[in-house]
């Protein structure tokens, strides 16, 4: 497989079935460093499965995924887990913060899991919380903050390891318009400033408008609209 020139993460001929249901049927994808690509399509079209395959969370039945020149399927589970911790960041529709930890401890968690000292991890976490305008929440627990604030904390957590690829699955799905827009502004600004690639799964056009280009997934097949129009 020859990935598109300069791409950081690419996939070809991805096929994935869950029992009799074909979730991906020849999907393709590529993204460059610093690029924000929206993955759009109706519910059940396969867009979340595509994201999970690209992130190495789900193994496709066939097809290839290349990340920085390495094939994901050739890695062991342990190698893929290590890659997810070191190079990938994740934001989901609901922040999935750990309720027992304070916000700053939540943001620092990925660094702590990678072996960084508590002091250093929390210093870096606070830096990202300032950028996401939630540093005043550092001592609060997730149950004490609003949905919009919690999602900004989750974005800070996804960026704290300086990931090269950020996977965002409906990151504003649970927020109102104003909070959703602010989260998208902060997320895309932060990612662009660190040259991280963002794979943004969304069905909302206003969210997709923060991307550089979009691909459309329908019936498990993807279509890169930049190459079509």
């Amino acid at each position: 497989m020859t990935p598109p020139a300069g791409s950081l993460l690419s996939a070809e001929h991805l096929r994935k079935a869950y029992g009799p249901t074909l979730a991906l049927d020849g999907a393709e994808f590529s993204i460059h460093p610093g690029e924000v690509v929206a993955v759009m399509g109706p519910s059940g079209s396969g867009k979340s499965t595509l994201l999970h395959c690209l992130a190495g969370i789900v193994t496709p039945d066939s097809g290839t995924i290349l990340y920085a020149g390495r094939e994901l399927s050739a890695m062991s589970d342990a190698e893929r887990s290590a890659l997810r911790r070191s190079d990938f960041g994740f934001v989901f529709q609901f922040g999935q913060l750990v309720p027992e930890l304070t916000c700053v401890e939540n943001v620092a968690l990925p660094l702590r899991l990678n072996g960084t000292s508590r002091k250093e991890a929390e210093r870096a976490a606070l830096g990202w919380m300032e950028r996401l305008e939630v540093d005043d929440l550092r001592k609060k627990r997730p149950g004490e903050v609003s949905g919009g604030q919690g999602q900004r904390v989750a974005v800070a957590r996804s960026l704290v390891t300086d990931p090269r690829v950020l996977f965002a699955d409906e990151p504003t799905g649970a927020l109102d318009s104003l909070n959703g827009e602010r989260v998208m502004e902060l997320l895309t600004d932060a990612a662009r400033s660190t040259n991280a690639a963002v794979v943004l799964v969304t069905h909302e056009a206003r969210v997709a408008a923060y991307s550089d280009r979009e691909i459309v997934v329908r019936d498990g097949r993807s279509r890169d609209m930049e190459r079509v129009v």
Binding site: A38, M40, P42, E185, H203, A205, R206, A208, A209, Y210, S211, E214, V216, R218, R223, M225, V228, V229
Partner: protein
């Protein structure tokens, strides 16, 4: 909506008289605004002059002459180009977009393609507005928001239509 392209598209299934064309147009696209005969004949004269249709036969009965029109290769190419070119995103596009989707289905083209291309064009406009909003003051933000909400409404219609293409295909085939 381009009446010329719509009439051309209707001719793709076979030659028709002006009257048949008007009837087919009114049935599929006219709804509460049927075509006037004058519009049909002036449009057909223009298409004839431009080489997009030819007169396939003339019937002379008791009444006036009835010309039967057939689409040319150049006409088919013209319809193809029109369907493949997205409309400039602007308010109240629904009638043109609806016509394009139905015509694509009637002529066995990929209607999902028409919708995808249009979505992409709308998103292109939304990206420009979003960027302007990010860099602008509150007045810019409010003006851009207004335009963005209108484009978003169009996009919702595009998504819903894409989800209903199979049903629409059955309906237009009846």
């Amino acid at each position: 909506m381009s009446i010329g392209h719509t009439l051309l598209g209707l001719l793709e299934s076979g030659p028709r008289h002006g009257y048949d064309l008007k009837r087919a147009f009114d049935e599929k696209f006219g709804h509460d605004r049927p075509l006037h005969y004058g519009q049909v004949y002036s449009t057909m004269s223009r298409l004839l002059k431009n080489g997009l249709v030819v007169v396939d036969g003339i019937e002379t009965g008791g009444g006036p002459e009835r010309k039967r029109y057939a689409i040319t290769d150049a006409g088919i190419t013209d319809v193809q180009r029109w369907l493949a070119t997205p409309e400039k995103p602007e308010p109240y596009l629904q009638s043109t977009l609806y016509t394009k989707v139905v015509l694509a289905l009637l002529t066995h083209r990929d209607a999902a393609d028409v919708l995808d291309t249009q979505r992409s064009e709308h998103l292109r406009s939304m990206r420009i507005l979003t960027d302007r909003k990010r860099k602008g003051d509150l007045a810019d933000q409010l003006i851009c928001d207004h335009a963005l909400f209108h484009l978003e409404a169009d996009l919702r219609w595009l998504e819903l239509t894409a989800a209903r293409l199979d049903k629409l295909r059955e309906a237009v085939a009846r």
